[in-house]
Amino acid sequence: MKNKSLISINDYSKEEQLEVLKVAEEFEKNPVQNILSNNVIASLFFEPSTRTRLSFESAISRLGGKIVGFSEASNTSVKKGESLRDSILTVANYSDLIVMRNPLEGSARFASEISPVPVINAGDGSNQHPTQTLLDLYSIKKTQNKLDNLNVAFVGDLKYGRTVHSLVIALCNYNTTFHLVSPVELKLPSSVKMNIKEKNLKYYQYTELDDNVIPNVDVLYMTRIQKERFSDPLEYERIKNYYILKNDMLENSKENLRIMHPLPRVNEIDINVDKSPKAYYFQQALNGVYVRQALLSLILGLK
């Protein structure tokens, strides 16, 4: 994996993905290691982010690395009209690895083509978010003690939710049965569904989140209806309260069910659910640090 950019989850084979999870486990046991002390990592966030950026920066700091970068594009040369090409070629001079989030889809792939240093995609528009996928896989494996043959429900915005796209694609390697719950307007795109069909896996589509779904699944992956993806505010208002998970809806759920969410949450999980032993989203966010530590050290050839 040394020097190998991570743009799309499929850039890493199943074996490589499992290798990342294995190294992440080591970091969970021993998160503070001074192995990045000779490295500078560029953290280029052209679009706002809390968890992804902070967990990357936390991962880098806990490994003793230095960070250069920005958390919004407005105080950089991008505002003066600099192209992404020029920004990347410049920043690559100052760093050993680039972590980038950019609102344009395909921007990370493009950056990895022109950059002399490896690039980790921290989200490109509605396309891919592979580090989230790896931390989701890590969280599933940790809570279910396996990745194979699970029933996983995805709920909410399956059309624009890039975390959903990447995780669905990744889970196609593990004989998953998919339960896809979304309003008709926000169904999983055919380009993603193609992956499920190619592997001949089972998938079911629903418009309601109820006892037809919840008692049958091992993982309930909730997502936010993303306001910023709607051009029509009325459409957003109509759809935003479609699915709200409450404690009483979990009554018939399996013992091993875990509720995950890539966060931020708006109102799709009632805060009373947070106390349920089945709620896992905050631990899931913590796992992001270990997985990103694993990725950084593997790509920089330090593990």
Binding site: S83, L84, R85, L104, E105, G106, S107, D124
Partner: protein, 153 residues
């Protein structure tokens, strides 16, 4: 007999390539895709010609030029029914039907307005994921451009 007369509506060439069975409305696109505007050899073309098979067709004849299969397959998106006929001394020496290639570059725009290829100077690339229904997956944004939302450069 009538077939022969139709062919002759665009004069025969002694040596070169005849691209036949082009949909009438795609002749100029084929010329652009094959960059024939920049070509210096003699080019003859006709369109809205009568065709038994398709009702109407276009034909392009390029003197003293033989195309590589990968060159001619670039026109498959606009002229999937076209055939390429190589002529030597007025005789047909080879006839092939165009084939949709596995990858396509620089012909079609990605339909996703938010794709990097529509914002920076990037030579776009597509993987052809469905040859029959012409569905192209963008190498950058990974979105599918289908036949009905294709725009050509």
């Amino acid at each position: 007999m009538s077939e022969k007369r139709k062919e002759l509506k665009v004069s025969a060439i002694e040596n070169g390539t005849v691209i036949d069975h082009i949909p009438s409305n795609a002749v100029f696109q084929v010329i652009r895709i094959l960059k024939l505007e920049k070509f210096e050899n003699m080019i003859l073309f006709g369109t809205n010609l009568e065709s038994k098979k398709y009702g109407s067709k276009g034909v392009i004849k390029v003197k003293n030029k033989y195309f590589k299969p990968e060159e001619v397959n670039r026109i498959a998106l606009v002229a999937p029914s076209a055939s390429m006929i190589e002529i030597k001394d007025f005789e047909v020496i080879n006839k092939t039907v165009v084939e949709v290639p596995d990858e396509i570059s620089g012909i079609v725009k990605c339909f996703n307005p938010n794709c990097i290829s529509n914002h920076e100077r990037v030579k776009n690339k597509f993987q052809v994921v469905d040859k029959n229904n012409l569905r192209l997956k963008c190498y950058y944004c990974e979105k599918i451009t289908a036949k009905n939302n294709m725009t050509f450069f």
